[in-house]
Amino acid sequence: MASNTHQTADAAHGGADAAGMPQLDFSTFGNQIFWLVVTLVVIYFVLTKIALPRIEAVLSERRGTITSDLAAAEDLKQKAVEAEEAYNKALADARAEANKIVAEARAEIQGEVDAAAAKADAEIAAKAAESEAAIAEIRAGAVDSVKAVAKDAAKEILATMGYKADAKSITAAVNARMKG
């Protein structure tokens, strides 16, 4: 209640001064303007001397950090790409090398196989020649034996029939027969 009466009294006082609007009470303007200017100057100095440079520094530092981090990331990415390329190249090289080795080994083995085959062929040919020689010999032997048997048989037959013939004529006759 006390405050109420105080307020009404104040209102009456203010009303007498400025038609109920304290905003239009010009007697307070000097005071308001003075304190406003003081306030603004203080805020301006706090902002320009402390707050704004500090926030600006933090923001630019953050921008710098982000930029350098991005650059580092780009760098690492580049390195990864390079590493992958090197890996692929090494892989291709290894594959080519392996193919080369395989081809070489194959050629070597082929050579060995060829040599062995040639040797075997030669041996076989030698054996065959030897066998043929043996066969020829045997055949020759057989002809001689046939000759001897034929002479003997002819002599025996002539003897049995009562003829007497010398060995020379019989041999000539047998030889002539066998030739033709």
């Binding site: 109420n4 307020q7 009404t8 104040d10 209102a11 203010g14 109920g20 609007m21 304290p22 905003q23 239009l24 009470d25 007697s27 307070t28 303007f29 000097g30 005071n31 308001q32 303007i33 003075f34 304190w35 406003l36 200017v37 306030t39 603004l40 203080v42 805020i43 301006y44 706090v46 902002l47 320009t48 402390i50 707050a51 704004l52 500090r54 926030i55 600006e56 520094a57 933090v58 923001l59 530092e61 953050r62 950090t65």
Partner: protein
Amino acid sequence: MRKTRKMPQKKRVTDVADQSAKQGGGPVIKIAFFVVLALVLISGLIFAPEHPGLAIHPMDQFEIKPLFGGDHLGTFTPTNQTLWMVLAIVGIVLLLVVGSRGRAIVPTRGQSLAELAYGFVYKMVEDVAGKDAVKYFPGIMTLFMFILFANFLGLIPTSFTATSHIAVTAVLALIVFVFVTVLGFVKNGMGFLGLFWVSAAPLPLRPVLAIIELISYFVRPVSHSIRLAGNVMAGHAVIKVFAGFAAALGVFSFLPILAISAVYALEVLVAFIQAYVFTILTCVYLKDALHPSH
């Protein structure tokens, strides 16, 4: 084909979710509403004045009184307005200086707010007034932070709103007006008068337009200051009027109290928007001073 079959299914799922949310949220909100209403009613009964009557003094809150008693109000007397201006300084220091003391690359909550305020005004100056206006950024930041804090501190019940006084906003607007005008002439010489000479218009119309432009230029500080003071003062006065109704209505005092809550929410919005509007207009005027050609 598949899409069309899938869509209704999805919709039904969300519908069900909506319904369950409504069923879950509805009663809670209703209960909270009735609890608040009951509290308001009970408090209205307990604290009702013995002699209910209309006691509406919406302008009392704007009265400037010496802070340490006494009737004499000299130029240098600290007043209740001085107190709340000092508290605005304290708030600004807390937000921008104490908040940013960590200087962390990854900011704390306080530092984020400080950086947010900085970035908000800096971007506004850069976007609206141009890159060459950035060197006036500290001054604009000063205006914005002062108005913002004065407006928001004024929303604390029983506090004093410095920006509700036309003397304060007029000084702010005049600082901007004088600074911008002087800067315009310093930067552009007589070329600054090109601001009033609309070269896009046909020649016979230009003198007429020049007069209109000149008048509108000198009305700028008036509208600039009255817009801010008027908005803030009107909101506070409306709240006070409703408070007077609440005192008179007894049991039904909850009606104006609910209205006060709504107006208060609006005032929170206005407190920010008016600080924003004042600052962006300052940027626009600054742009006119730096680039007077249309």
